[in-house]
């Protein structure tokens, strides 16, 4: 309790605070949408195709997938943690689901069974991964980076083992159709509808439930949450399970789109999901975030890679750029944290 601490306590006088914070809040809230619009306009000068209706729909569909992964990542980042295993989990889920559905289709199972089984296997594997992560982080108290680094490797091993290193082709229509082809609501492709449903659900979860509130509190000050009687361990565990389930759903959607179980599906997803979440405004310190930052971040990252593709920027350069964007986003996050 001595004041002899080098770190500074940031208090503000009441008047100073409200003026600054209101300005800062509006500034940061508008920053993302403005950036997105600005980028689109800037690129359109060189490559007008970016603003075509078809491309915009394309971007929306792409962001839908990323949104699922970004919001999955967001749930654990809220608690002050991380899920490095996201990409590999997506891969192993994709492969497992493909194997299950193709197996059942080959055995002439009815369409509904194929679909349900696919969902069950996919979400089930997701549950297992999430439980593994959650268990070691909450119960054993191990640093989430290390745990998810470990599960990353485990998932990678599993994915390549059960797939034999090659994609599992011909995932039956019974499975892919409901998750990808066509539209539920006319005009809106299924992936977008699904993403919207998930987004709404997640918003309600975070904003309206005790669980959601607890996540923010745990992320902001785990010791205080514990002292107040919040069952932190239980909720932390559930957060990782939720993350993996969301990622699993995203993986199912992606598998439906490609029509095959890919052991490399997860590839750069881990980085992209983190980039999307952080850029959108989810703070790495924990305790700050919501569905809106995840949405904005996903659109931004998707737009960026879409723009780079249209401008015919090489894949490797894109990867470099992604790394730079991540560092820039974290730096911005730090600035936000020290000001708020």
């Amino acid at each position: 309790m001595s004041e002899a601490s080098i770190s500074n306590v940031s208090l503000r006088s009441a008047a100073e605070t409200s003026r600054h914070r209101r300005a800062a809040r509006w500034g940061f809230v508008l920053l993302m949408p403005l950036l997105i619009v600005a980028m689109a306009l800037a690129v359109s000068l060189v490559e007008p195709r970016i603003l075509s209706l078809r491309n915009i729909i394309n971007i929306l569909v792409q962001s839908s997938y990323l949104l699922l992964f970004a919001s999955a990542q967001m749930v654990v980042i809220l608690t002050g943690g991380f899920d490095l295993s996201l990409g590999m989990a997506v891969s192993v889920i994709s492969v497992a689901t493909a194997l299950a559905t193709t197996g059942l289709a080959a055995a002439d199972a009815p369409a509904w069974l194929v679909f349900v089984a696919g969902l069950a296997v996919g979400l089930g594997v997701g549950l297992l991964v999430g439980a593994f992560n959650g268990l070691f982080v909450s119960l054993a108290g191990i640093n989430p980076f290390v745990v998810t680094l470990g599960s990353l490797n485990i998932c990678y091993g599993l994915a390549t083992t059960i797939s034999g290193g090659r994609p599992v082709f011909n995932v039956p229509d019974a499975f892919t159709r409901p998750l990808y082809d066509g539209t539920f609501i006319p005009g809106i492709p299924i992936p977008v509808t699904l993403a919207i449903v998930v987004a709404v659900f997640l918003h309600l979860l975070l904003d309206r439930t005790v669980f959601g509130r607890a996540l923010y509190l745990i992320g902001n000050n785990p010791r205080a949450a514990n002292l107040a009687g919040i069952p932190s361990k239980r909720y932390l565990f559930l957060a990782y399970v939720t993350c993996s389930l969301l990622a699993a759903f995203g993986s199912l959607m992606l598998t439906a789109r490609t029509g095959s179980g890919e052991p490399n599906l997860g590839g750069s997803l881990m980085l992209e999901s983190i980039a999307a979440a952080v850029i959108g405004g989810v703070s790495l310190q924990g305790g700050v975030g919501g569905i809106v930052p995840a949405v904005l971040g996903s659109i931004f990252v998707t737009l960026l890679s879409n723009a780079m593709n249209l401008l015919e920027v090489g894949g490797y350069v894109q990867q470099i750029l992604l790394g730079c964007v991540i560092i820039a986003a974290i730096f911005l996050d730090r600035v936000r944290a020290t000001r708020a």
């Binding site: 640093n143 990353l152 990678y156 350069v317 990867q319 974290i330």
Partner: protein, 347 residues
Amino acid sequence: MRLVGPIMSGRSSSERAGPTSVLERILRSYRPAGFLPVLLTVLLVSFALFIPNFVAVQNLLNVLRSSSYLVIIAAGQMLVLIVGGFDLSQGAVVALTSVTSALVMVAFKETFANEPGLIILVGVLAGLGCGAIVGLVNGLCVAFLRISPFMVTLGTMSIATGCALLLTSGIPVYGMPKSYVEGFGRGLWLDLPTAFYLAAAVVAVIWVMQNYTRMGRYILAIGGNMQAAIVSGVPAKTYLILSYVICSMLASVSGLAFTAQLGSGQAVINAQLTLESIAAAVIAGVSIKGGVGRVEMVALGAILLLTLTNAMDLLRIDPRIQAIFLGIIVVLAVALDELSQRRAALV
């Protein structure tokens, strides 16, 4: 970085309470990593007895050689772990170094046609330069921008990998001088792989640094209690940056040696390298929280890890399944470390 609180509360009586159970005593001994040499010996003996071909000279040389590469990298990771950080970019630095050094050597082939020594020198410098730059970026971001080391090194990992792929489009780079590949990379001095001597030298230098120089104490202080270090006048930022630079440069050194053995510059190198280096360090008692670490133990940890891998290879266990084991080992090792710390704090 450790918090001061729980550790500084000490005990209110001036006696230390003894360990109260066998389990606690075992956990206590884990901390100074006293059981690592024992474990290693036990494993070596068991493998020698039960696994055919383990004791074959060629096999042992292979293990020694691949351990050497890991030892060098793990030593670097240890430095960063000690100051309370983390380096996820090591694998990418190895790839980047491999590619850069090979490309530079090929580029200068004409210029120094009769001086293979110079070609090698330029290539090596270029490779080390890569490590220095990445390390500098990591260090500066962590020390001055105060960004989490995980995130920074995640970013630089992506950038470095991208650069490596970009420079080669994924195609291996051939054409390095013969003396480099045959003489250094695949050569044997006194019947032992050259990489072994390199690793031994690295371990020796770092051992001296840890025990006989200021830097050794400073990095322990920075990781153990940053505030105490600053207040005592330790130039914390400088040594923080230095740790990241040395870590990346050691990754470069390992990359150079490995490239020499491969005979070509490759942008795609062992994807698990980073995890292995962390595993080796953690098994050796280096704490994720910082402030603790001895290089001789890390060397043993690396050897242990690769001995295990080698045994699994000989037993024809699929490398993909080995990846699973690696993941489990890391998690368990850190869990044990965490548990033993908690017990130590209570006793």
